[in-house]
């Protein structure tokens, strides 16, 4: 961790250091929020609450990787939001204009790009339909690219649990994907 700013104890100085460390992870925080909250506006609220809460507890942050620390806070925020609401009905957001991929592989023809996008949208929907325990490990591993150790930190579970959940999650996702592929071919 950077030692700079350690002597600057003003609120503004802390905020600058916090921004430097935490804001680069905003897309990843927001991505997990989208998969856990399932609506863009709820995800924005959760991500904002996560950053404000993280800043309030920044004094207790003891160095180490920032990303799992932030994602663990986000996960707690999302759980609290769910607990506060009545059971949420799942609504697919495949038509969401913000749900476009961030970039395309160079060399994609428009057709390939279209195909890739619709594949991605199918996959987003299938991940979104997984039970929450499995959904979060898939997002953390496959999309946010966390190591098993960092996933264990975020979901507050031992690494053995991470492994078995990930195995189950991939099994479920694979079956759902095969079913979806079969469905699209018979259309």
């Amino acid at each position: 961790m950077m030692a700079g700013g350690a002597t600057d104890l003003t609120d503004g100085g802390r905020a600058e250091r916090f921004k430097t460390l935490a804001l680069p992870h905003l897309d990843e925080v927001y991505t997990l929020a989208r998969y856990l909250m399932r609506s863009a506006s709820d995800a924005e609220d959760a991500a904002q609450e996560c950053y404000l809460r993280a800043f309030r507890h920044f004094d207790t942050f003891r160095g180490g990787p920032v990303k799992p620390w932030l994602l663990a806070i986000l996960r707690n925020v999302c759980h609290a939001a769910h607990a506060g609401k009545a059971r949420l009905e799942f609504t697919a957001d495949a038509g969401d204009p913000q749900a476009l991929p961030l970039w395309r592989e160079p060399g994609d023809t428009p057709e390939q790009a279209m195909l890739r996008r619709s594949d991605s949208q199918t996959m987003r929907r299938l991940i979104g339909e997984l039970p929450a325990d499995y959904r979060e490990v898939i997002v953390l591993r496959e999309i946010n690219d966390l190591s098993y150790r960092d996933i264990a930190t975020v979901i507050e579970a031992p690494i053995g649990t991470v492994m078995s959940r990930l195995a189950r999650a991939r099994g479920l996702l694979h079956d759902a994907w095969i079913a979806a592929e079969g469905g699209s071919k018979t259309k």
Binding site: G12, A15, T20, A47, L52, P101, S120, M123, E142, H174
Partner: protein, 250 residues
């Protein structure tokens, strides 16, 4: 190993989370078990269709602004000149001590500037599709490529067995001087290892720093300054540095 164990551990194998011993055990089981081999192929196929770029969401600009707006404002920064003049004018500070402090201030300044430069060079290498000038996972191809391009022979070691794949090498510039960039990969992450000649032959122990979300491990040995830059976490970057140093000593 039985199929139940392999069903779990094959995922750790896919994710590169197994040590060499366990990886061999799982692979040995899969070679002898058609059902597990088929399962493994299914999951590899699934992962090829899980392209993170298409599955990520990018945070709206308004969200970033709103978060920044709700954090305390930055302090009125004391200018460097004010800091230096306060040293120079400080009543109880002798002229000699002031000089010493001044040197410290300047040196720290220099180090943070170079830290910024290596992170920028790392970023450029990812953006400009110019990751490598010489593309090879063979250390005996990468190392000679630098001959005549630099006034040092950068150390190039193959760390594939330790989980860091050598991708190649590149000529880059840090602090307006040519440096060697040796490029490694860990899962989907790129590690740039920058090597520049050091003014002395001292050994400086590794220091871990962080800038804009990137981690930098900096150390010196054998007349070289080295910076390993990546977005992998500090533990893995420390592991990379240690494995690299250990491989050099062999």
């Amino acid at each position: 190993m039985n199929c139940d164990e392999a069903a779990i551990l094959m995922h750790a194998l896919i994710d590169g989370e197994l040590d060499a011993g366990h990886a061999r055990e799982v692979e040995a089981h899969i070679v002898g078990c058609a059902a597990c081999a088929a399962r493994l192929r299914e999951f590899q196929e699934l992962r090829r269709n899980l392209t993170p770029a298409g599955l990520r969401y990018s945070a709206p600009g308004s969200l970033r602004e709103s978060i920044e707006g709700r954090l305390p404002a930055p302090p009125a920064a004391a200018s460097r000149r004010a800091v230096i003049s306060s040293f120079a004018l400080g009543a109880g500070v002798s002229a000699i001590a002031a000089c010493g402090l001044l040197v410290m201030v300047m040196r720290n300044d220099d180090e943070s500037r170079i830290l910024g430069e290596v992170v920028s060079a790392h970023l450029r290498s990812l953006q400009a599709q110019h990751l490598t000038d010489v593309l090879s996972s063979d250390q005996h191809t990468v190392k000679p490529w630098f001959n005549g391009r630099l006034d040092v022979a950068p150390p190039v070691v193959d760390l594939t067995a330790q989980g860091f794949t050598l991708l190649g090498g590149r000529l880059d510039y840090v602090d307006a001087k040519p440096v060697a960039a040796i490029v490694y990969r860990r899962r989907v992450h790129v590690i740039n290892l920058f090597c520049a000649p050091a003014p002395d032959f001292g050994h400086r122990r590794a220091v871990m720093e962080s800038l804009h979300g990137f981690n930098v491990r900096r150390w010196s040995e054998n007349g070289l300054n080295l910076w390993a830059v990546s977005d992998i976490n500090t533990e893995e970057l420390a592991e990379f540095g240690e494995k690299f140093e250990a491989a050099l000593k062999q």
